[in-house]
Amino acid sequence: MHKTWWKILGSGLVIYTAIAGLLLGVPHLPILNETIRNLYFHVPMWFAMIVLFSISVFYSVKSLSSKSEIDDIKAVESVNAGIIFGILGLITGAIWAKYTWGQFWSFDPKQNFAAISILLYFAYLILRNAIDEEQKRAKISAIYNIFAFPMMVVLLFVLPRLKDSLHPGNGGNPGFNSYDLDSLMRMVFYPACLGWILIGYWVYTIRFRIRSIENKQQHN
C-alpha cells in the first residue's frame, strides 16, 4: 500500500476530473461556451509533459556522471512518455482551436512552438537510433538532451510572450485568473493537473520496467 498510494491517488483524481469536469457548472463566456471544460484536459497534458521532460534531463545529467545504463533508460523512457503527453496536448488543443478560433491549426505561436519542441525530442530519439554502441549512445544522447532543454524552455515559456497569441494571457486576451475566478473551476483544474502528472509518472515507471526486463533478457 505504501508504494501504490500515489497511483490510486492519480487515478482517483483523473476519474474525478473526468466526471466533475463534464458535470459541474462552468461560467458561460462568449465564444468559449461549454468548450471551457477542455481546460481540464488540455492544460494538464502540458504540465505532465514538462514534468516528464524535466525528469529526463535530470537522469541525463546523472547518467553523464554515473555512466549507468539504468539512468540512460530512465532518461529515454521519460522522453517517450513525455512525447505521448505532448502529442495529446497538441490534439486536444487543435480540437479546442477548431471550435473557438475556427481552424485546427490557427498559426498561433504557442501551437507552433509546442510542435517544434516536440520535434526536438523526436530528433533526440533519432539520434539514439543512429548510434549502435550502447555507452556511446548513452553519452551523446544525454549531451544532446541537456543541450536541447534550455531551448525548449525558451520555446515554450519565453518566445510566446514576445508575440501576440490567441491563447489566454497573451496579446490583450484575458488570462486564466479572470475567468476561472469562480472557485468551482479551480476545484477541478488543480486536481486535474496533479492527477495527470501522477498518471504520466506512472506510465513512465511502467515503460522503464518493461525496458529493463527486455534489456535483461537480451544480456542473458
Binding site: 512552438f113 520535434l119 539520434l127 543512429a130 556511446k136 543541450f147 525558451v154
Partner: protein, 221 residues
C-alpha cells in the same frame, strides 16, 4: 591565461589551415551566390520585401549549416586526437566557435552585399539595424551549429543527423532574427527592436554556457 593562449593559438591554426586551402570560404561563398542567383531567377516577379527578407535568412541558414558543420565533421580522428592532447576541451570549443563566427561574418557580409546588389528593391532603409541582425545571426548560427556538429561528428554519420539535430534548436533563433530584420526592413525606430536583440544575446550566452559545460564530456572518448 593558459586558456587564452591556447584559444589564440588554435584560432591561428584554423585561420592558417583555411588560408592555405581556401576551400570552405570559397565553397560556401559560391554556394551562397549561386543560391541567391537561383532564387532571383525563380522568384523574379515577387515584389514583397518581407518575403525577400525571409528568403535571405533561409539562404543564410543553409549556407551556415554547410559552412559551420565542416568544423568537426571534416576533421579526421587523428586531427581530433592531436588537438585533444594539445589543448583543453574548452579551448577547442571556444576557438572553433570564434573562428566560425568570423567565417560567418565574412560570408554573411558578402552575401548581404550581393543580395542588395541583385535585388535593389530589397535594400532595407535601416541598414545599420539590418547589419546588427546579420552580426547576431552569424554569432548564434555558429554557437549552435558548432556544438551540434560536434555531437553529429561523434555520433558517426554526418550530414543528415546535423540537419535533424540543429533545425529544432535553430528555429527559435531564426524566428527572432527574421523579426529583428523585419523591423529593419520596415524602418521602425530602434526602441522596438531592443527586446529581440536582448533575447538573442541571452540565447547566445545560454548556448555557449551549456556547450562549455557539456563539451568536455563529448570530447573525451
Amino acid at each position: 591565461m593558459q586558456l587564452a593562449k591556447e584559444v589564440k593559438y588554435l584560432i591561428h591554426k584554423e585561420v592558417l589551415l583555411e588560408w592555405r586551402s581556401k576551400y570552405t570560404i570559397n565553397g560556401v561563398l559560391l554556394y551562397v551566390v549561386s543560391t541567391i542567383f537561383t532564387c532571383y531567377l525563380s522568384f523574379v516577379s515577387l515584389g514583397d520585401k518581407l518575403t525577400w527578407n525571409a528568403l535571405f535568412w533561409i539562404i543564410m541558414l543553409f549556407a551556415s549549416i554547410n559552412g559551420v558543420s565542416k568544423s568537426f565533421l571534416q576533421e579526421t580522428k587523428g586531427q581530433q586526437l592531436y588537438s585533444y592532447i594539445l589543448a583543453s576541451p574548452a579551448a577547442v570549443l571556444i576557438s572553433k566557435t570564434v573562428y566560425n563566427t568570423l567565417l560567418m561574418l565574412v560570408l554573411t557580409t558578402i552575401a548581404l552585399g550581393f543580395y542588395t546588389l541583385v535585388f535593389d528593391s530589397f535594400t532595407p532603409p535601416d541598414m545599420v539595424l539590418y547589419y546588427v541582425a546579420v552580426v547576431l545571426g552569424s554569432m548564434s548560427f555558429s554557437t549552435v551549429f558548432t556544438m551540434v556538429s560536434a555531437i553529429a561528428s561523434k555520433a558517426g554519420n554526418g550530414g543528415m543527423l546535423m540537419a535533424i539535430l540543429s533545425f529544432p534548436i535553430i528555429i527559435p533563433v531564426l524566428i527572432l532574427l527574421i523579426k529583428l530584420a523585419k523591423n529593419a526592413v520596415d524602418g521602425l525606430p530602434w526602441e522596438n527592436s531592443y527586446d529581440e536583440i536582448a533575447m538573442l544575446l541571452v540565447v547566445n550566452v545560454l548556448m555557449v554556457a551549456t556547450s562549455l559545460l557539456l563539451f568536455p564530456y563529448l570530447w573525451r572518448d
